[in-house]
């Protein structure tokens, strides 16, 4: 007798078969899948952008090298900068929000999931379009990540590569705005019973501040790109100064808040890691929440400090607001220090990255105050000092937060633990590499090396500092390769069933995502893994403390 196996349709009660495999991934409305797609895409692009950076550091390691020509070098720094900001650090931050926010607020999904998925696709296709510029006859766009006109118009920058850059960045930014909108709506309107606004985890609060900036500031970039596209069709527009300066205002109205979009989620991830690995509730929760919102609003008011040297901005105002940023930043820093002071510290890889974030980002922040002061900015503008400052903010700061977040939440996302030994090695290589690469750049800039030069003469005396910087870049490359190996090896072992299984809460987490299984089920929480009572911004810590009290009460004295 032969038995026909039940068809898939029969198994699903006559409903259409849910897509599986890659089709299931790319059409899923599950916020976790969309989040993993976003984060995974940005990590792949991180590797690609790293290769561009290594090529530049190889070119600059010695004076008067000709590894790549000037036009190619211009393409490298343009796509590296554009890629890292538009396609890696910003989307990764929003992708973390897509994955984590519904879990942290106890919701079964994200608001407007189809729109969220559309946002991911626009981002991914935008990245592909921008990179496609390399395949055009004149190469990729070559005018830097902010692409001021008239240099970026079609007379000075001919070729389809620049047009593809505009189209790609436009698509990706539209996708980011869409994802930011759905994350904001989720955290404001989809909270579970008991999750009041003042019980939101810090990471979710950081996403509120981040997404408000995305909605308020990112449309200005779309307008700037639109202006540039029109100007490329009719370059005479940029004969008028108002549109050149107008472009700079439009661009930097986006371009400064985006720095905080690339900062707050990582700062909050670090804050969560510090609290968990110190075994303490986060110190100064309400003050930190308020400072995040004030910080975000102030960050909308400082864009003109990027235009000090134009002489066509209200320098006094922008300098004042830039320096005022110190106040909320200080509150956040002292809250982080207050959290670890007196805690029982555990030095697992997420904690190592979180601890290194604190002093390294401080260097980036304080040098930001320096360049936010016109008298210093006039001296170092468009020099390597600025390159050092922004890399301390975005790599030594945000990227360390990014890696802290990856090591922290990897077990929750995948159900397996990342290798700790490789993680520690990755950390030390990155600490050495980041500081060896970017610290000499401060000196280079102060000594007068302009940014974006493809080579320099031996007599200028920049050689040994550049060599140090390039050696540091090799450490960074080794660290990132180790990280990639660690992730791929762990995922391979998971496929083979040999990886170390992650428990639901491997670190003793404080927030709701650690109450569900690793990885979480489709709708996040199940009767076997229900949402626990939400009693504060650290509900799982409350639960453990109540259980400890109960255990003490019950123990025979």
């Amino acid at each position: 007798m032969t038995v026909t196996p039940p068809t898939a349709k029969a198994v699903t009660g006559g409903r259409p078969v849910p897509p599986s495999g890659w089709l299931g991934w790319v059409t899923s409305t599950d916020h976790k899948r969309i989040g993993v797609l976003t984060v995974g895409t940005s990590l792949v692009l991180l590797l690609a952008m790293g290769i561009l950076a290594l090529t530049m550091r190889a070119q600059l390691a010695q004076p008067e090298q000709q590894l790549v020509d000037t036009h190619t070098f211009n393409q490298l720094f343009t796509i590296h900068g554009s890629g890292m900001i538009y396609m890696v650090v910003t989307p990764f931050a929003i992708g973390m929000g897509v994955y984590l926010v519904p879990l942290q607020i106890g919701a079964p999904g994200i608001a407007m999931p189809r729109l969220t998925l559309l946002g991911y696709w626009l981002y991914a296709l935008g990245a592909a379009v921008m990179l496609a510029g390399f395949a055009t006859p004149l190469g990729a766009h070559a005018d830097g990540w902010f692409s001021y006109p008239p240099m970026a118009d079609s007379i000075h920058s001919p070729g389809a590569g620049s047009d593809l850059w505009i189209a790609g960045v436009f698509l990706a930014t539209t996708g980011t705005i869409v994802m930011g909108w759905t994350v904001l709506w989720t955290v404001l309107r989809k909270r579970t019973h008991g999750m009041t606004m003042l019980r939101l985890p810090l990471f979710s609060w950081s996403m509120i501040a981040t997404c408000l900036m995305v909605i308020g500031a990112f449309p200005a970039l779309l307008a700037a790109l639109g202006l540039l596209a029109v100007g490329r069709a009719d370059p005479s527009i940029f004969d008028h100064n108002v549109w050149n300066i107008g472009y700079q205002h439009l661009f930097w109205f986006y371009g400064h808040p985006v720095v905080y979009v690339m900062f707050f989620p990582y700062l909050a991830a670090v804050a969560e890691v510090l609290a968990v690995f110190s075994g303490r509730r986060f110190f100064g929760y309400q003050g930190t929440v308020l400072s995040l919102l004030v910080f975000a609003a102030l960050s909308m008011s400082v864009w003109g400090h990027h235009m000090f040297a134009t002489g066509q901005a209200a320098n006094d105002y922008y300098s004042l607001t830039s320096i005022a940023l110190l106040v909320p930043a200080g509150v956040e820093y002292f809250s982080m220090l207050g959290t670890i002071a007196g805690g029982r510290l555990r030095f697992a890889p997420p904690m190592l990255f979180a601890l290194a974030f604190i002093p390294q980002f401080l260097i980036g922040g304080l040098t930001g105050i320096m360049v936010g002061t016109p008298v210093i900015d006039y001296h170092v503008t468009d020099s390597y000092f600025v390159v050092a400052h922004l890399h301390y903010v975005l790599f030594a700061g945000s990227a360390f937060g990014l890696f802290a977040a990856v090591y922290f939440w990897f077990p929750k996302v995948t159900g397996v633990m990342l290798g700790h030994r490789l993680g520690r090695l990755h950390f030390w290589l990155l600490v050495i590499g980041a500081n060896l690469t970017f610290l000499p750049m401060f000196a280079l800039g102060y000594l007068g090396m302009p940014r974006r030069v493809s080579t320099y003469a031996a007599f200028e005396g920049f050689g040994w500092l550049n060599l140090l910087s390039s050696i540091g870049a090799a450490f960074l490359a080794a660290g990132v390769i180790l990280f990639a190996v660690n992730v791929l090896w762990t995922l391979r072992k998971r496929t083979l069933g040999r990886a170390e299984k992650a428990p639901d809460d491997p670190w003793g987490g404080h927030t709701l995502e650690w109450a569900t299984s690793s990885p979480p089920p489709r709708l996040n929480f199940t009767p076997e893994h229900p949402v626990p009572p939400v009693t504060s911004f650290a509900p799982l810590l409350d639960l453990r403390q109540r259980q400890e009290v109960t255990a003490v009460d019950r123990s025979p004295s």
Partner: protein, 119 residues
Amino acid sequence: MKRHLPFVVVAGWGALNGVLLAVLAVYGESSMVFWLWGGAVVLLALVALAVLAACRSGPDQHVRYRVPDRGAGAVVPAAFGLLLVALAFVYGLWLLALAGPLLLVAVALAVRGTTAREE
């Protein structure tokens, strides 16, 4: 008040932007800057109103959720359609002839609820 806290957060944040913009007026800037930042403040006010409307029409916290359980088959053709629209500005408007049908397919898929329920 507690029920409307999400609205207060968004509206308050937009208002803080408005205050900072007003301070900028004391220092003086080109009119374009006021249109730019003022536009952002108006956009944030609209977001705040949307949040207020949602707060008034539903609970602040949820016990039951309406979760879309169908996959999003329309999304991929929609995204590729928009990609072609963007590329039309690079390679010529003839690409709109390809983008249009793709976007129509996406609309049809969205209306029909194409893909299966996710388990």
